[in-house]
C-alpha cells in the first residue's frame, strides 16, 4: 500500500474511533466547500477609504491620493524626489502607456530584476480592514515587480478598496475565478524583528511601500 493510502486509512480509523456520530458526511462537507460561509467579521463601521489609509500608514506604508491615472507619473516623481530616490524603475505593462518621461522618470515596462530600484504595480484590489494590497501573479502582473526592487509603488482604484478579505474573495470569484499561481497580500514594507525584537524594515523585500489611491 502506498503512503497515501496508509495515511488516509489511519485518519479514517482514528476518526471512526473518536467520533461517536461519525464524520459530517460527504454532503455536508461538499456544501461547506461550496457555500463559502464567512466566520465572524470585525464590526466594520468605518468608512472604507479612510480606514484603508489609516491602516496603511500604521503598517508603515506611505499613502497619496490623485484624481486620475494621468496624475500618477507626477505623483510618483514627487514621491521619489522627496525621498531622494533614483528616478528609474520598472512597471507592469498595463501602466506602460502613462507618460513617465513627461514627469522626468525612466520607467520600463518589464519584469523586475534584482538591480531595479523601483517597481510600480497596479493591484487587484485593496482591503480597508488592514490597509492591504491584493496582488495577483500573471503574465502581465509579475510577482517580482513588488518584491525585488528597493521601493514598491502600487496603484489602487478608490472604487476597488473593499472592506475585508472575504469581500476580496467574492470580487475575485466574480471577476476571475481560478486562482493564479500566487496571490500576494502585501501590507507595508518587508520587515523583521528577529534580533532582540527590534523592528527593522527591508529584511528581504522592499524597504518601503508607497500606495497611490486613484479616485477615478
Amino acid at each position: 500500500m502506498s503512503a497515501r493510502e496508509n495515511i488516509l486509512n489511519r485518519i479514517r480509523a482514528a476518526n471512526a474511533s473518536h467520533l461517536k456520530h461519525g464524520a459530517d458526511g460527504a454532503q455536508q462537507v461538499a456544501s461547506r466547500l461550496n457555500d463559502h460561509v464567512r466566520g465572524p467579521l470585525p464590526r466594520m463601521k468605518w468608512q472604507r477609504i479612510a480606514r484603508f489609509k489609516k491602516c496603511s500608514i500604521e503598517a508603515a506604508t506611505t499613502v497619496d491620493q490623485v484624481g486620475s491615472r494621468t496624475d500618477v507619473p507626477a505623483a510618483v516623481a514627487d514621491y521619489l524626489a522627496k525621498n531622494e530616490l533614483p528616478k528609474t524603475g520598472v512597471c507592469w505593462p498595463e501602466l506602460a502607456t502613462l507618460d513617465w518621461s513627461g514627469a522626468g522618470l525612466e520607467i520600463e515596462a518589464r519584469p523586475a530584476n534584482a538591480d531595479d530600484k523601483s517597481g510600480i504595480t497596479g493591484s487587484f484590489c485593496g482591503l480597508a480592514e488592514t490597509g492591504t494590497l491584493m496582488l495577483l501573479s500573471s503574465e502581465n502582473t509579475a510577482a517580482t515587480t513588488s518584491l525585488l526592487p528597493d521601493t514598491h509603488i502600487a496603484l489602487v482604484s478608490a472604487s476597488r478598496i473593499v472592506r475585508c478579505m472575504e469581500d476580496a474573495w467574492d470580487l475575485f470569484r466574480k471577476e476571475i475565478g481560478d486562482l493564479p499561481r500566487q496571490v500576494n497580500f502585501v501590507s507595508g514594507a518587508s520587515r523583521t524583528a528577529d534580533i532582540e525584537m527590534t523592528l527593522v524594515y527591508g529584511a528581504h523585500g522592499p524597504f518601503r511601500v508607497h500606495v497611490i489611491i486613484v479616485d477615478e
Partner: protein
C-alpha cells in the same frame, strides 16, 4: 531532530543560571504579551473569532480525509505534484530525490518547523546539497549551528552582540553594532542566494481544500522569494493544516497574526496554487507539495487530539511563566513551551519527555491565549496520568502518592495526622511564622523560598468552629 528532552531539569537549571540568556529573555518577556493584548483588544469580537476558529479546526480534523482528498484533486488540477510521506525519513528522501532528478545544487529555505522535526537540513547537506535558511532568525541559528528556541522568533535567545560576533566571523567583515546594519548585512549576503538557488523549500501555514492552494505567512519577504525565484519549489506540510475555504483562511489569519506577533495582518500572505503558468515571467517550473504524517494520525486517534488544532503562533510559549524563564532550548526538541510539552511526548515518546508535562503550574495562561482554544493544561494533565499508568514516575513519587492515597481515604486517620502536622508546623514556624526547610520532596521547594507556617488549626477544625458559631443555616 534528535530530542534531548530527558535533560530538561539539568538544562533548565543551567539556563536559569546563565546571566546572558536571562538578560535576553527579560528583554523579550512581556513584549509579545503586550503586542498580542493590544491587537486582540483592537477588535471587539476576538473571543467570538477564537471560538469559531477552534470549532473550524475541529471540523477540519473530523473530516480530514475528505478535505485532504479534495485538496489533492484541486492541487493536481492546478499542476502541483502531490506526494505523501509517512515518516521523517520518507519525506527527507523524497526531497533529496526531487533535488537529484532536477540537478539541484543549492537550496534556499523559508521557515518550516516540520523541517526541524525531520532534520531536513542535515539530511540534504549529507546528500551533497548546499542549504541556506533565509528567515533572519533561522539564518542566525543555522550559522551558529544551533536550533531555534522559539517557533516564530528562532534566535530570541541570542543578543545582538552574539549575532554581531557571529556575522563578523561568518561573513568575514568588520563587526557591526547596530541591529539595522546587521539585518541589512544579512539581506546583502542572502540576496544572491535567492537569485541563483535551484530549489526553494517552504512550509505551509495552511492548505486550502477549495482551491488546492498552500499558503504561507511571512514578514520578511523570504517566503515570497523562496516560492517564486528558484525553478523548483517544494512545500512541506503536516496533514493537519488543511482547511476548507478561502473564507476559512481569512478567519484563521485574523486570529493567527494577532496571536503570533500582535499584528492585525502579517506583511506578506502568499497563497500559492500550482507552478508557473503559461506566459508567466516568474514562478517555479515545478511545484511539489509533500503531505506529511510523522505522528499526526497517531495523535488524531489519541486523547491529545486537540493538540492538532495548533496553528503554530507561539502564543502559548510567550505567555508561559516557565518558558519566559528557561527559554526554548531547555525543552529539548522542536516545539518549546506548553505546546511543546504536549507535542514532544506525543511525537517523540512519553518516556522521552517525562519532565515536560510536569514543567508547568497548570496556570492556564497558555490555554486562554491559544487562538484555537487548545486546552493545554488538560492535555498536560492527561500526559501526567499516562506517565503514572506506564509506571514512568520515580519510585519515591509513586510511593509518596500511594501513602497519601492510603491516608486520604481514611478520614479519621487523615484528621488526626493533619491536626498533628499543623500544630507541629506552627511550632516549627517559630517567631517569623515561616518554614525554612521541609522534608522529602518539599526540600526542593524550600531551597529557594520559605513556606508560611500553618496557623495551628486544620481547615476542618476552623470550618467546624465556624459552623457552630454561625449555626447550620449559614453553612451548606
Amino acid at each position: 531532530m534528535h530530542a534531548t528532552s530527558t535533560q530538561f531539569k539539568k538544562v533548565a537549571s543551567q539556563k536559569l543560571a546563565d546571566p546572558k540568556l536571562q538578560a535576553t529573555l527579560a528583554n523579550a518577556k512581556g513584549r509579545f504579551v503586550v503586542a498580542r493584548s493590544d491587537a486582540v483588544h483592537d477588535i471587539d469580537n476576538f473571543e467570538e473569532m477564537r471560538e469559531a476558529a477552534a470549532q473550524l479546526r475541529d471540523h477540519c480534523l473530523d473530516n480530514l480525509d475528505v478535505y485532504l482528498e479534495e485538496w489533492e484533486r484541486k492541487a493536481t488540477a492546478a499542476g502541483a505534484i502531490v506526494h505523501w510521506a509517512e515518516s521523517a525519513e520518507q519525506m527527507n528522501q523524497l526531497i533529496l530525490d526531487i533535488a537529484r532528478d532536477n540537478e539541484v545544487r543549492k537550496v534556499i529555505k523559508s521557515k518550516s518547523m516540520l523541517g526541524e522535526e525531520t532534520g531536513l537540513n542535515e539530511y540534504l547537506e549529507n546528500g551533497g546539497l548546499e542549504v541556506r535558511e533565509t528567515d533572519l532568525g533561522e539564518y542566525i541559528v543555522q550559522q551558529a549551528k544551533e536550533h531555534p528556541s522559539h517557533i516564530i522568533a528562532p534566535a530570541t535567545h541570542k543578543s545582538k552582540e552574539d549575532i554581531a560576533k557571529l556575522f563578523a566571523e561568518k561573513h568575514d567583515r568588520p563587526q557591526l553594532e547596530d541591529i539595522t546594519e546587521l539585518t541589512h548585512e544579512a539581506r546583502e549576503i542572502l540576496r544572491p542566494h535567492f537569485l541563483d538557488a535551484d530549489m526553494g523549500i517552504s512550509g505551509a501555514n495552511f492548505l486550502v481544500a477549495e482551491t488546492g492552494s498552500t499558503m504561507i505567512v511571512t514578514n520578511e519577504g523570504n517566503g515570497r522569494m523562496t516560492t517564486t525565484m528558484p525553478r523548483v519549489h517544494v512545500a512541506i506540510t503536516g496533514i493537519e493544516k488543511c482547511i476548507p475555504t478561502l473564507e476559512d483562511l481569512s478567519l484563521m489569519l485574523r486570529v493567527l497574526t494577532r496571536s503570533a506577533t500582535g499584528q492585525p495582518i502579517s506583511n506578506y500572505l502568499s497563497v500559492t496554487t500550482g507552478p508557473k503558468r503559461d506566459g508567466d515571467t516568474d514562478g517555479p517550473e515545478q511545484f511539489h507539495v509533500i503531505l506529511v504524517d510523522v505522528g499526526r494520525t497517531r495523535v488524531l486517534g489519541s486523547n491529545l487530539r486537540e493538540a492538532l488544532r495548533c496553528i503554530r503562533c507561539g502564543s502559548c510559549m510567550n505567555h508561559c511563566p516557565v518558558y519566559q524563564n528557561v527559554g526554548g532550548h531547555a525543552y529539548g526538541w522542536v516545539y518549546p513551551g506548553p505546546i511543546g510539552s504536549v507535542l514532544t511526548p506525543a511525537y517523540v515518546g512519553v518516556d522521552k519527555a517525562i519532565d515536560l508535562p510536569n514543567a508547568a503550574t497548570l496556570c492556564n495562561q497558555c490555554g486562554v491565549a491559544c487562538p484555537v482554544k487548545i486546552p493545554l493544561p488538560d492535555l498536560m494533565r492527561k500526559l501526567r496520568e499516562k506517565q503514572t499508568e506506564l509506571g514512568l514516575k520515580s519510585v519515591w513519587e509513586r510511593a509518596g502518592l500511594r501513602t497519601w492515597t492510603w491516608v486520604a481515604t481514611r478520614p479519621v486517620l487523615y484528621g488526626l495526622l493533619t491536626k498533628v502536622a499543623v500544630r507541629f508546623g506552627k511550632l516549627a514556624g517559630g517567631k517569623d511564622r515561616l518554614l525554612h526547610w521541609l522534608p522529602f520532596a518539599g526540600k526542593e521547594w524550600t531551597s529557594e523560598r520559605d513556606l508560611p507556617a500553618p496557623s495551628g488549626k486544620t481547615f476542618r477544625e476552623i470550618y467546624a468552629a465556624r459552623a457552630r458559631r454561625d449555626g447550620e443555616a449559614n453553612v451548606r
